[in-house]
Every structure is written in structure tokens, then in C-alpha cells.
């Protein structure tokens, strides 16, 4: 990703400073410094790299720097593995970043554009992590509608960091220590900004639709859920196959639906409750496991609705087949519960 950006900078199509760093920790640190200097910043990472910069994630979030970062979801060591799963970003759900999960390459691009607008909104000012499935989305080809600069200008205003930037007229201290008497108020403000992001996401998606004609649906993307008895909740690139399976089950009379989570933070609790309130039975399929507990997405979803079945699949890049997905719906119909491994 940064290799292509280097080409854009070299050929002059991107007016940016390109900083080559020696590590992910330094990548996000440099991005944070640049954001503090008052410019728009972007970086990208994956897997262990994301974990290596984990310390800086909370600095960037707590410092409220609207950095946009793409994370290619890939497995974590050990055993070492270079293929996709979502353990990297899901293990860092609490780092204070907005976390969105794309289904396809077009959505990665669209989310990234909207991410700047959402993160930089003065009522939000929270860094934004766009997640995409490693290999399934990063190492495959897909036709993508690339926007023009004029289109981008319509959805992305000039960056105004406000008071969160170096100012030689009014010098400030940034990222200071705050003791017990002050500490919580900073975190509360951060939390409230995250919740407020829903309004901003909604506005950004409306503007995006007006400019590009593509409609996104906020925290969740519900498919045939209105009258669904059995709903499979999932995220990322596997969602398309899940919808296909739901379609064929519908043909055989099973009222199946698929709920794709687009955002994990802020957590779309209201949208989930609304969509799943009438479902008879809910399963969560995720490429992640919180060892000794359950899948992290499942734990979150179950805090809203009584989801029963948690299916762990796709770890380390394992394929998830249509038959396996159909099997999840069968398990739901059979009333199975708990954590089940594909």
C-alpha cells in the first residue's frame, strides 16, 4: 500500500511528505507528530505490525489525532502465519480508535475517503482504522471506481485541526499527564465523541451517496433480516458468500438472514438490537478467538442480543466454504449453542 503511495508522491499526483520509517511503532509515532503539526496523515499496517504499534494506538487515540490507517487483517503469531484473520485488530478494540471492516476493495477505498471526514470532524477527532481481510482483499484483483479529485473535494473539506496543533502564537502543551482528579474526564469526552460519530458517519454517507451514487448503511449492513428467523452475524469479505447461502436457504424455505457489522467501534448496538430483535436465533461467525473466552465479536453482540452460537473460522487464512456456512444455519435450527470451530 505504502509502496503505491510512494509512486504517487514520486510522480507528483499526491502532494505529500512521504516518511520512510524503520518500524510500525515509528510509523504511527511519525504520523502522530505530523498530525500534531497540523497536517492530514495516513499510514498502513498489518498483523504483528499493528501489535508492535499498539502502544502508540492509545497515544494517537487519547491525543485525539484524526489519523487514518488501513489495517490488512492478518493472523498473529505463534504459530507464524502470513494469511488473513481478524485477531490483530479485534485484540485492539479497546485502543480508542474507530474500527470499520470492509467487505470488498471498493468499500476499502470508500471507507478510507469517508474516514478522513469522520475522523477529522471537530465533534469526533478520533483516529480511524479501516480493516480489510488480508489476502482475500489485499492480494486479489477487483475492478474499483477511483474517484476524481473534484469528487473527493465534495466530500472532504480542507483539514482544520483546530486547537490540536502546534501554534507558535498560542503555544500549548499536548498529550500531558492527567492525575486521578482529571483523568476520567478526558476518557469520557473521548467516549462521547465516539458515540457522536454515528451522526457524523450518517452525514458522511449521505454526502457520499450524493456524489458517488453508492449507498452505505452505517454500523451494520442487514441482508434479508426483516423477517429472518435465523441470522448469521459476521464481518468482512466472507459476508458475500454468507448472503449467497442465505439466498439458497430462502429458496428451500428457511428464513435466513445475514447481518454484516461494518463498524465495531463505535459499537452499533442500537442497529444490532433493531435488526435482531425479532430473530429466533443468532450465530456469529468470526475469524478470531479470545482464548479461554469466545470470539470477541460474539461477546460484543451477545451484550446486545441473546446470540447463542459462536463459530470460529478462517483462522490463519483457512477457507470458509458455502457448505460450512449452510452448516452454521443448520446448527442454529438444531438449537446448538456455545463456541464451535469450523
Amino acid at each position: 500500500m505504502v509502496e503505491r503511495l510512494a509512486e504517487f508522491v514520486e510522480d507528483g499526483s499526491l502532494d505529500a511528505e512521504f516518511i520512510h520509517v524503520e518500524s510500525e511503532h515509528s510509523a504511527l509515532s511519525a504520523a502522530m507528530g505530523a498530525s500534531l503539526a497540523g497536517v492530514r496523515t495516513f499510514t498502513a499496517t498489518s498483523s504483528q505490525g499493528l501489535l508492535y504499534m499498539a502502544e502508540v494506538l492509545t497515544y494517537a487515540a487519547g491525543g485525539r489525532f484524526p489519523i487514518v490507517m488501513i489495517n490488512a487483517n492478518r493472523s498473529l503469531a505463534l504459530p507464524w502465519n502470513i494469511y488473513g484473520d481478524q485477531r490483530d485488530s479485534l485484540s485492539l478494540l479497546d485502543s480508542g480508535w474507530i474500527q470499520a471492516y470492509a467487505e470488498n476493495a471498493q468499500e476499502v477505498l470508500d471507507l478510507t475517503l469517508m474516514a478522513f471526514r469522520i475522523a477529522e470532524d471537530t465533534a469526533v477527532r478520533v483516529p480511524f482504522m479501516v480493516n480489510l481481510d488480508g489476502f482475500h482483499l489485499t492480494h486479489t484483483y477487483e475492478v474499483v471506481d477511483v474517484p476524481t479529485k473534484e469528487q473527493i473535494d465534495k466530500i472532504l473539506p480542507d483539514y482544520d485541526p483546530g486547537e490540536n496543533q502546534i501554534d507558535f502564537e498560542n503555544p500549548r502543551s499536548f498529550g500531558f499527564t492527567a492525575g486521578p482528579e482529571w483523568n476520567a474526564s478526558f476518557h469520557k469526552a473521548h467516549h462521547e465523541a465516539m458515540l457522536h460519530a454515528w451522526n457524523v458517519i450518517d452525514r458522511a454517507e449521505n454526502t457520499f451517496h450524493a456524489v458517488f451514487g453508492r449507498r452505505y448503511s452505517g454500523g451494520v449492513d442487514a441482508y434479508r433480516c426483516d423477517d429472518a428467523e435465523y441470522v448469521l452475524v459476521t464481518l468482512g469479505s466472507v459476508s458475500g458468500l454468507c448472503r449467497q447461502v442465505a439466498d439458497s436457504l430462502r429458496e428451500s424455505g428457511v428464513k435466513a438472514g445475514v447481518l454484516r457489522l461494518r463498524y465495531l467501534r463505535p459499537f452499533p448496538d442500537e442497529a444490532i438490537r433493531k435488526v435482531l430483535s425479532s430473530a429466533k436465533s443468532v450465530a456469529v461467525l468470526e475469524k478470531d478467538i479470545s482464548f479461554g473466552g469466545a470470539g470477541t465479536v460474539f461477546t460484543n453482540v451477545r451484550s446486545i442480543v441473546p446470540a447463542k452460537l459462536n463459530v470460529i473460522g478462517g483462522l490463519g487464512g483457512a477457507d470458509i466454504s458455502a457448505a460450512q456456512i449452510a452448516g452454521i444455519f443448520e446448527s442454529l435450527q438444531a438449537g446448538e449453542s456455545g463456541v464451535k470451530w469450523l
Partner: protein
């Protein structure tokens, strides 16, 4: 024309901090900012100076200043420098103040990366020879024979890393060592570094009364004596050339220097137990 004490900016840019009385590190930061002035942007990782200077709402830096992750001093400086330049601002100096642990141990990789890129930054290591902020744990710059809270075997049995040689080997544009005991030399080096475009590294010895075991009024005296007896040297590295700025005036008094400090008492014991004849 070199700057003297009288030419320093009269304003204080690091004032009201909660450093211990007689803190050498705070003197190093205070003087550097008086040389660099209001266009300096200070970058401080976890360490003594960030802990004492940034306790909201008591904020002791009067210029722009930012706390960074422990290992990220140099890389945050890189980002700030690039960002300000991208905004079309060019009259500023990004200056980092990291301790010995933040420099020679955890921050070494990021510093190496910044030197590798040749970023236009001034990195100042205030060296109090252990992790003083967290309770006097050994760092890579703790000297031979000094007692710390994490050297159970009669104090540190290793010599200090030679940071100047390390940054020189990485290809730094300018490096110098200094001591808060000789401020005119330190001031001259900061001023010189500020005039050089490229990666600059200044390593200033900054004694710590608490961690070294001496009275609060002796800080400057001990910093001066360290140079006089040869326990610390004032050097410069530029254009591939090394220069010693000051010959030790009384190298025979090294033992006196050590005797003044509680942290070396353990070394005396060690020598006696091992019938050590000395060098």
C-alpha cells in the same frame, strides 16, 4: 559570534516544573530552550522531564511541547518536522529531550531511523545515568561500579554505552557531548547544532542528587568534576572528525569524584573484597 550567558533569551521556557531540588536534567532542558527560543517545539518521551513538566493543569513548558511514547522521541520529532514543513513553516526547531534510558535503550531504534533519514531534528539526551524517574533502575548508560536498584551484584558491572560513537556510526550530521557543569560549552553546542540542517545529537551529562547520592547543591559541581577527572568528556563529531573540547585537568582525582557519590560506595566494597588494586 558564540552566544554567552548574557545573550540568552531572558524568558524562561521551562518553569514551575516539579523536578527534584537540584535536578541536573531540568537545568539541561531549561538552558537548551533559552538558546533555541520560542520557535522550539519540545518533544519528550516518558521520563523525568515529562513527568515533572506536564502534570495537567500544571504545564511548565511555555513553548509547544508534546509527550511521546517512551520509544518514540525521534520518530515523533520526524513527523512534527515533516508536518510543519508541509504546512510551509520553516523557522522552527524540533528538539527532543530524552533521558539515558529513553535514548540508549528503548529509543535507540527510532533514533537510528531518524539519523538514517537525515531528518532535520535536534535530539538532546540528558544523561543522569539510570532510570531515575521510575526509581534508579540501571540503564545502558549507567557507569561501571554504580549502584542501582536493579544491579544486585555489587552495582553495574558494565561500562556506559558510547552513544556518541553509536550515532556517529549511524551517520549523524553533528554530535557532541556536554555537561551541565560547563554551560557555556553546552550553549555553544546547542547554538551550533541549531544552525546545522540535518540530524543533530547532543548528549549532556546531568547529575541526579537522588540517584547518585549527593547533596542538592552539588549538582553542577559534580557535573564539572566529572569532566575534570575524565569520568565524562566534552567531545564533538562533525564531518567525520572527532574533537576533544577539554582535557581532563586532574585525572588523578577520579577516586575523589567517586567518593562524593553514594552510588559508588558499593564499588569500594567490591574492590576491597576482591583485593582490587585499581588501574
Amino acid at each position: 559570534m558564540a552566544m554567552s550567558a548574557r545573550d540568552l533569551d531572558k524568558r524562561e521556557f521551562f518553569f514551575g516544573h516539579k523536578a527534584c531540588a537540584g535536578c541536573g536534567g531540568s537545568l539541561a532542558v531549561r538552558i537548551a530552550l533559552k538558546v533555541l527560543g520560542e520557535r522550539a517545539v519540545s518533544v519528550l518521551p516518558a521520563g523525568c522531564m515529562s513527568a515533572v513538566g506536564f502534570n495537567f493543569p500544571q504545564l511548565a513548558f511555555t513553548n509547544n511541547a508534546f509527550i511521546t511514547p517512551f520509544a518514540a522521541t525521534a520518530s515523533v520529532m520526524t513527523g512534527i518536522e515533516a508536518g510543519l514543513r508541509q504546512r510551509g513553516i520553516d523557522d522552527f526547531q524540533v528538539v527532543g529531550f530524552a533521558g539515558d534510558g529513553g535514548t540508549a535503550d528503548i529509543g535507540l531504534q527510532a533514533l537510528s531511523g531518524a539519523i538514517d533519514r537525515g531528518d532535520n531534528i535536534l535530539y538532546i539526551c540528558y544523561d543522569n545515568e539510570a532510570y531515575m524517574n521510575t526509581g534508579i533502575q540501571k540503564s545502558g548508560l549507567t557507569p561501571y561500579g554504580a549502584k542501582t536498584t536493579t544491579t544486585p551484584y555489587k552495582g553495574s558491572r558494565r561500562h556506559k554505552k558510547d552513544m556518541l560513537a553509536i550515532v556517529a556510526a549511524n551517520g549523524v550530521d553533528y554530535a557532541a557531548s556536554a555537561s551541565i557543569g560547563y554551560l557555556e560549552d553546552y550553549i555553544r553546542k546547542i547554538e551550533k547544532a541549531a544552525g546545522i540542517t540535518g540530524t543533530k545529537y547532543i548528549h549532556v551529562l546531568a547529575p541526579c542528587p537522588v540517584g547518585w547520592g549527593f547533596k542538592t547543591d552539588e549538582t553542577v559541581d559534580i557535573a564539572r568534576e566529572a569532566v575534570d577527572v575524565g569520568a565524562w568528556s566534552l567531545r564533538e563529531y562533525e564531518n567525520g572528525e572527532w574533537k576533544l573540547n577539554r582535557e581532563p585537568s586532574r585525572p588523578q582525582d577520579l577516586e575523589l569524584y567517586m567518593k562524593r557519590q553514594g552510588r559508588f560506595k558499593i564499588e569500594k566494597q567490591y574492590q576491597e573484597e576482591n583485593n582490587y588494586a585499581g588501574e
